[in-house]
């Protein structure tokens, strides 16, 4: 029995780390959804592209400088972030802006096409083989009593927490952050205040690409495998966002963590003890999602939308 409990505890921590990544992807979904009511189905692919770009930087630096040092990873991260900023800006320019007056449905379809195109492009450029990403922390672990935690997991959780705090600060305390909220609530009124709505929207896409890239960089070493199907993991962040209540930032984060923990535990200890769970572990997050939607259709943090007329 104690074995089961230590197993569960250990996997919970690993699950929280995975969940933090889901939370970041869900945060990307939520940002765009809140601002423009578009569900960006390419969010997972943005993450995949980010992971590839980072891998490219790391390997280039290693091949030119030899042994990887801490600096290799820091410089690669900086390069990836710059790429993400430009990429997000470009996506807003080619997807969001030209289609501004189209029905939301058309823009959503465009994001689905974008996801397929990105997957194909990456496969063409990087080749169809799976790559082996290098973790800056190797196989390093901490251990507390019987529980072993990898440094990578700790780093993932730490980065996610810092990012979320930064976003929270930005949204609630800065002029542009509040303007972003205002624009998502009422773009017309925002225009009348002199808020440059177009610029705010491109900022939203830039942020969204940024969190996607960072989640890709964090996720690749955790999966210890990098290929173009990584984007499908983005779809798992979708139930996370819905679970939290689509459109709520706090909800996206909590929903992501819950999904990560459920998934890790069901794959690990639970399926070791109860074999049938292994059989259903791919669909387990979706079952949880449906259950939540049946009990609380607006998600855990969702507010019931009552429109005042």
């Amino acid at each position: 029995m104690t074995e089961l409990i230590t197993g569960l505890l250990q996997e919970s921590i690993s699950g929280i780390a995975l969940g933090c990544i889901y939370a970041l992807i869900a945060l990307g979904f939520t940002l765009i959804y809140k601002a423009t009511e578009v569900v960006n189905f390419a969010q997972g692919e943005l993450m995949m592209v980010g992971a590839y770009v980072n891998f490219f930087f790391v390997t280039t630096f290693i091949s030119s400088a030899g042994e990887p040092t801490l600096w290799t990873f820091i410089v690669a991260l900086a390069g990836s972030i710059i790429f993400a900023l430009a990429f997000g800006w470009l996506l807003d320019l080619i997807i969001n802006r030209p289609m501004k007056d189209e029905p939301i449905f058309s823009i959503i379809m465009a994001t689905i096409s974008l996801s397929i195109i990105l997957r194909a492009l990456v496969a063409i450029i990087a080749g169809p083989m799976s790559l082996l990403p290098i973790s800056p922390f190797g196989e390093g672990v901490f251990s507390f009593g019987g529980i072993v935690i990898s440094i990578l997991d700790t780093f993932i959780i730490g980065s996610a927490v810092i990012l979320v705090i930064l976003f929270y600060y930005f949204f609630n305390k800065t002029r542009w952050g509040v303007a972003m909220q205002a624009t998502s609530e009422d773009p017309i009124a925002a225009q009348l205040m002199g808020i440059p709505v177009n610029r705010v929207n491109s900022l939203v896409w830039i942020f969204s690409a940024l969190v996607a890239t960072i989640s890709g960089i964090l996720l690749a070493p955790k999966l210890s495998l990098l290929d173009t199907t990584m984007g499908f993991l983005g779809l798992k962040a979708f139930p996370a966002a819905v679970l939290g209540g689509f459109g709520s930032i706090a909800g996206a984060i909590v929903g992501g963590v819950i999904m990560g923990v459920i998934e890790t535990i069901s794959i690990g200890t639970l399926s070791f003890h109860y074999v049938w769970i292994k059989e259903i572990n791919d669909i387990i997050v979706w079952i949880v999602l449906i259950a939540v939607l049946m009990i609380k259709p607006d998600g855990l943090f969702g507010v019931e939308k009552v429109k005042k007329v």
Partner: protein
């Protein structure tokens, strides 16, 4: 100060304004009256740049503004309080005012303006941290007006400020508008509430189906039976005394 000449605006293929011309002079309170769907709101939207006119010109302070976007127009000194107030319902009162002053880069000036609007409407100071959407209709209207005043506009466009308010609050709102006007703000007011609007206005335009139908001062307009006909809808209203004039 504001001069509209022959403005025609379309929504898709539907023509909403058929060549509207009007003037607002500095320091005036001008009102646009008209039934539902006459195009009153469209005039304001065209001035503030939310819709682009197909033809005609709009000049503000001798500068042409009909080809500018809303951000540029608000920066030039025209603030628009839209129909149904459109405050940001999930932001706090403070944040709403902050957004009203989005274009003010100087923090001290922003704070100063904030204090001024709290002086104008003490209720807003008390409600600073409240989520704006939970306030009453009257308070939301006060907020919408002070949000627009954050930039100290030269011209204030007010779109049906009395909409959906109880009669008591309507009186309050009109008093507020009157005071604003006295303090020197030039106002273009769109209203359905003819009596209230004409009482405080210097000049009025009556709009029917996208055209200016009549214009004049309070006395002139009040005298025009036509105004009443247009307003009270179908049917012709005849003065009682005239009923007997045939005898």
């Amino acid at each position: 100060m504001l001069k509209m000449v022959g403005v025609e605006t379309y929504y898709g293929k539907v023509k909403a304004l058929h060549g509207v011309s009007l003037n607002v002079n500095e320091g005036q309170l001008v009102t646009i009256l008209g039934a539902n769907g006459a195009g009153k709101t469209t005039i304001l939207k065209t001035i503030s740049g939310l819709v682009e006119p197909e033809c005609g010109t709009i000049h503000f302070d001798n500068k042409r503004i009909d080809n500018k976007n809303p951000e540029e127009i608000v920066a030039m000194g025209i603030s628009h309080v839209p129909e149904w107030r459109r405050i940001f319902p999930e932001l706090t009162v403070y944040e709403n005012l902050l957004m009203g002053g989005f274009l003010i880069k100087n923090k001290d000036l922003l704070q100063e303006r904030m204090e001024e609007s709290f002086q104008h409407f003490p209720i807003l100071k008390k409600r600073q941290t409240q989520i704006a959407g939970t306030m009453s209709g009257g308070e939301q209207q006060m907020l919408a007006i002070s949000r627009a005043l954050m930039l100290k506009p030269k011209l204030l466009l007010l779109d049906e400020p009395s909409l959906g308010l109880s009669p008591l609050l309507v009186q309050d709102i009109f008093n507020t508008i009157k005071e604003l006007h006295k303090s020197g703000v030039t106002i273009l007011l769109v209203e359905q509430n003819v009596n209230h609007a004409l009482k405080i206005a210097d000049y009025g335009y009556v709009l029917t189906t996208g055209k200016i139908f009549l214009s004049g001062t309070y006395e002139e307009l009040l005298d025009e039976e036509k105004v009443r006909e247009q307003y009270l809808g179908e049917g012709k209203y005849v003065r009682r005394s005239k009923l007997w004039s045939g005898r």
